[in-house]
Symmetry: C2
Subunit: 191 residues, 2 copies
Amino acid sequence: MLKSDVGMAKVIIGIVGMPGAGKGVVREVARQHGFPVVVMGDEVRAEAKRRNIEPTPENLGRLMLEIRAEEGLEAIARRCIPKIKMHDASIIVVDGLRSLHEVKEFRKEFPNFKIVAIHASPKTRFRRLLARGRSDDPKDWETFYMRDQRELSVGIGEVIALADYMIVNEGSIDCLKREFEKILEKVMKDE
Amino acid sequence: MLKSDVGMAKVIIGIVGMPGAGKGVVREVARQHGFPVVVMGDEVRAEAKRRNIEPTPENLGRLMLEIRAEEGLEAIARRCIPKIKMHDASIIVVDGLRSLHEVKEFRKEFPNFKIVAIHASPKTRFRRLLARGRSDDPKDWETFYMRDQRELSVGIGEVIALADYMIVNEGSIDCLKREFEKILEKVMKDE
């Protein structure tokens, strides 16, 4: 099978969600089902390593903007495409969509590209991030608000608005898992 | 009771959704339950009448951008505030949010302002708009796509991303009605 045919046949699921919406759980479910997961943020971390930059949240955020300024708004997506092509699974999950430029870039290569958005209210997401307490998670509403604004400024809201599937994640982790599994089934049937 | 106290007590539900997502059904449900509905687009139509402009979709679209350029990005919201204050219902629905500037303007006046987003996939919305066939509805994918882009350019995606409640409307009208009624109940309990 030619590379281009592989591209046609593959279903790529692009995950988008605001901080604390539940992307991590969805990544885990995909892996449990044996589907490869390509994390867009890993490209920024790899570039930080190449440039000998310490991978603090601030540095990574700045580097992400630098890469976009140097190579175009779809730069991170373009770097992920060879990784996606390496996998020959029927479904490949790409985590961390942030703009429609990226979606466009992926769809040029993979026509069967579906956007899956995970949504939770700001109140719920804030509560979750406080509970999670990862070093880069906000400790107060002001920091949380600013991080949301940074994500929105890149264009994440537009990707959410045009999602092919929307999961509302206001309940338990098990609910979210089941919802995502339903979408995996739908996506497989569609193709 | 002072005007400002009334503002504090009222719950305002701001509706946001891409074209064809199901905002019309939600407006209808709100009215059936006796809640007043303020339609933001009516402000643009009223202004068109004042300026003797024929209310074609193109003219209204252009006028909306003109009003925003002349009076600021929150202009339409500001014009709705006196109308909202006129009503003394416990819940008032405002339909047609398009940007976070508007949300900010409403929240200054009404702290209990909740964003309710209605989402459907582009495929579903396109099919619905074709079936509806209103004079200003798109007849082909290209026109549909351009209309989506126009909405997104004003900032509607950011409002959807920060919704307090998200309704996924991929099923029947009855499903959507029930989902919105559940949210009305939640909103009433919260306050």
